[in-house]
Symmetry: C2
Subunit: 107 residues, 2 copies
Amino acid sequence: MGVTKRFIHSDYINEIAQVAKVFSHPARLAILKHISEQESCICNDLVDEIGLSQATISQHLTVIADAGLLKGTFKGKAKCYCINLETFEHFRVLLNSFFVTTKLKCC
Amino acid sequence: MGVTKRFIHSDYINEIAQVAKVFSHPARLAILKHISEQESCICNDLVDEIGLSQATISQHLTVIADAGLLKGTFKGKAKCYCINLETFEHFRVLLNSFFVTTKLKCC
DNA sequence: TCGTAATATTGCAATATTACGATAATATTG
DNA sequence: CAATATTATCGTAATATTGCAATATTACGA
């Protein structure tokens, strides 16, 4: 089918899966890395740095932004992206919580 | 195209993306949770607990096992699964490292 | 060895994802 | 306003993923 049956799982499980999905593509990780290293970043820079087309980079940026991981402002012609640290930290804690709570009960 | 261009990224980035992918499906998270809560687990129990077919559960178990997250032994007719804590902890540290190192350099 | 129970594999249909070229939209500069 | 630069969106092709029924395999007990 190709469609994930989310309704059979808890909200907690679904949220973690959704968060993990954002980080499950190397291009998105690379984008996050690049943005973090430059404090702010222009999409066109990313196109040069990473070897993907502008359209593809823009798509990945949308996924990252939809997850709430970006704060975008305009600076000159280019859109200036910045990582939303609050969301980023929230995701770190969320993912870690899965590991910790799972580990505690394991054999 | 549908095919991820892994060769343009570093091994580190690719490894983290691969790990995140394992955790990016709610069924796999649910399976890990169930196994951890029962110390050991039979696939058929998972089929009852989670609302997916035996074939689908088995497929997800393969993905989890291929990642090195399971230790499987035989107990009676059923296969007894147990989480590989070393790998599990390794993955936790790996994912966390991405967050920590990215965060440190961010604006 | 035969039957049974449990798990794995195969094949398929439906949907999702990835990637890119073309083009549109938006903002800045002249 | 026109030209330019930058980013977003659309359409499309190729591949991946998800899920299940059917079947195969495996292990055990009679």
